[in-house]
């Protein structure tokens, strides 16, 4: 029976699976009372759903609608005045949700907090550009890569991919080599959609190397006439190497320096 490959996650998967292997988890620890992180959790008390310390950084889970309020408190009361990164993780296949995280930095304490929230597939999230200008480009990238709409963003537009790109590349449903629209992108853009039939899938990518194309490629030792059909394989030819040496050391070289 053919192995079932799920359509909602087309990324590469491990070929070897062990049913009895229990994946260990990176140790998480409670927030120690009296520490800096405890103060942070206390000042955010009514918003925090879950908080723990993982690899030296505090992780706070919040509701997606509270993100502005939480970051505002973090910025004004806890001194987290840098939002060093913001992005999302695609959990659509498993939970039907995106995980959005904000990586915050407190420069005076040299501490980092990650604010994590979850949003449903078609939900939008509020922009935090009013608090951190660095979110401007990051949120655009998140929109570009995942299709997460950010409300009240000053200029929400694709950033890395072209404006007329179809699909959002970092989704788990998007294949690594690109989807159907991606493979026709140049043809659509230069000639128009109606030329898809004229050009055909075999010519849409000028850099594509076709093993059976004898007009442009030949294999050394398997040369055939121009344009021959080799779908049934080709005959092996003996390779004849030139016997003439590239540099003939038996002849005396010209003595250039004698001219001086």
């Amino acid at each position: 029976m053919r192995k079932y490959t799920p359509k909602d996650n087309v990324q590469k998967k491990s070929y070897y699976t062990d049913r009895f292997y229990v994946v260990p988890r990176v140790p998480r620890s409670e927030v120690q009372s009296g520490s800096h992180f405890a103060d942070v959790v206390n000042s955010l008390k009514k918003f925090v759903r879950e908080s723990y310390v993982e690899l030296g950084q505090l992780i706070i889970h919040i509701k997606s609608t509270d993100n502005i309020k939480v970051l505002e408190i973090l910025k004004d009361k806890c001194g987290y005045n840098v939002c060093s990164e913001l992005s999302a993780v695609d959990y659509l296949a498993r939970d039907g949700e995106f995980e959005v995280f904000y990586q915050m930095l407190n420069m005076s304490e040299a501490k980092r907090v990650r604010v994590v929230t979850r949003i449903k597939k078609d939900e939008a999230i509020e922009s935090v550009v009013c608090l951190y200008k660095s979110a401007n480009f990051s949120e655009r990238e998140m929109y570009d890569m995942f299709g997460i709409v950010v409300n009240n963003h000053p200029y929400l537009k694709r950033i890395l991919m072209p404006d007329d790109w179809v699909g959002h590349p970092l989704l788990k449903t998007y294949p690594l080599q690109g989807d159907e629209a991606a493979s026709w992108y140049e043809v659509d853009k230069i000639f128009g959609k109606e030329y898809r039939d004229v050009i055909g899938p075999e010519n849409r990518d000028p850099a594509k190397i076709d093993r059976y194309d004898t007009k442009r490629f030949s294999r050394v030792g398997y040369e055939v006439p121009f344009g021959a059909d080799i779908s049934d394989g080709e005959k092996e030819n003996d390779i004849e190497y030139s016997k003439a040496p590239l540099v003939d050391y038996t002849k005396s070289q010209k003595q250039l320096d004698k001219r001086k």
Binding site: Q11, K12, K13, S14, Y15, Y16, V23, P24, R25, V26, P27, R28, E54, L55, Q57, I59, N81, V82, C83, S84, E85, S87, V89, D90, F101, Q103, M107, A110, R112, R114, Y132, K133, S134, N136, F137, E141, M145, K157, R158, I159, L160, M161, P162, D163, P169, L170, Y174, L176, I190, G192
Partner: protein, 409 residues
Amino acid sequence: MQQTNKLTPFFENLNFERNDNTMVINLGPQHPSAHGQLRLVLELDGEKVVKAYPDIGYLHRGIEKMAENMTYNEFLPTTDRLDYIASTSNNYAYAHAVEQLLGIEIPERAQVIRTMLLEVNRIISHLFFLATHALDVGAMSIFLYAFREREFGMDLMEEYCGARLTHSAVRIGGVPLDLPKGWTQELLKWCDTVEYELANTYEKLLNENRIWKMRLEDVGVISAEEAQSWGCSGPMLRGSGVQYDIRKEEPYELYSKLEFDIPVSDRCDSYGRYRLYMEEMKESIKILRQLVPMYDKTAPQLMAHAPQYISAPKEEIMTQNYALMQHFVLVTQGMRPPKGEVYAPTESPKGELGFYIKSEGEPYAYRLKCRAPSFFHTGLLQEMLVGAYIADVVTIIGSTNIVFGEVDR
């Protein structure tokens, strides 16, 4: 809105012909001073920039997507292509994040070698900044002088790992090779040369140079609050008077054991940043000189001992059956780190380079996000360029020291 067809392409609703005094010009993506594939759309009033719109993505290769489809060790050479001016710092940042996830201890010799390579890369990158920045502003000879020393630094890297630009000189769990014989002596000689050239050539030519000062002073001004809000890091942040260096504040590798200063400038302009780069090179030389005696004292182990994640040394693989089996599993399947997430920041020559990795216990990362400093510095351009003269635009781009390999990823 334009009518778009094949003869009049569509440019994001931009109307290049205006009836008022402003003019819209398009700089890049193929421009010698755009430091790669930066496209800037500038709205000018006379010679002043009224509005700037940085357009990026011309070098987008989907590195984060590739990371989700590669095992952890497979992905490491890809990180070379992020900041290709100092590729070891990317290799290190990635390896460091994975090591945090695995929770493994790095042998001391590997730590010394890594720190050495990181600092050599920092000097190489800063020399490149100096060369290209000066060339952009119009100082041709500095470009040639700085590239000469940079070539010697790249020779050192070549002697260590065989590559000049794409080093891949760090592995997850340590370094692949020990230093070649006599490498440290070569390194010290290079340090002397760079130090001499810094003091006697570059600084003497530029520091009090009237043209250089006129072109750089009060150009590209960014206040401390703005720099923090825009997520600036590295010299862009320290050039605005915020003393924050990840090597000092959140030390990794051997930086907590080394003595070095963090230069800061409160000038907030391009000239301050230029001085900062020069001082940072001097500090890097100081660090390298401390590392050479440390290297001699370490035991020769190069890779961490964590049989579950990292292959044993070659002698063990060739002599012991179990080590061979584990090596085979690690090569064919790839390592499976524990479930969890990590964000590990490092101080690359450009600023805070961090990798966020989400692992679900598979040999492939579930999500990898590369926090590249240049990405945020490019975002800053839309505010920093406003009010500048068109002649200063190139100075400001050069002063932000952005590299498009890591902006577009």
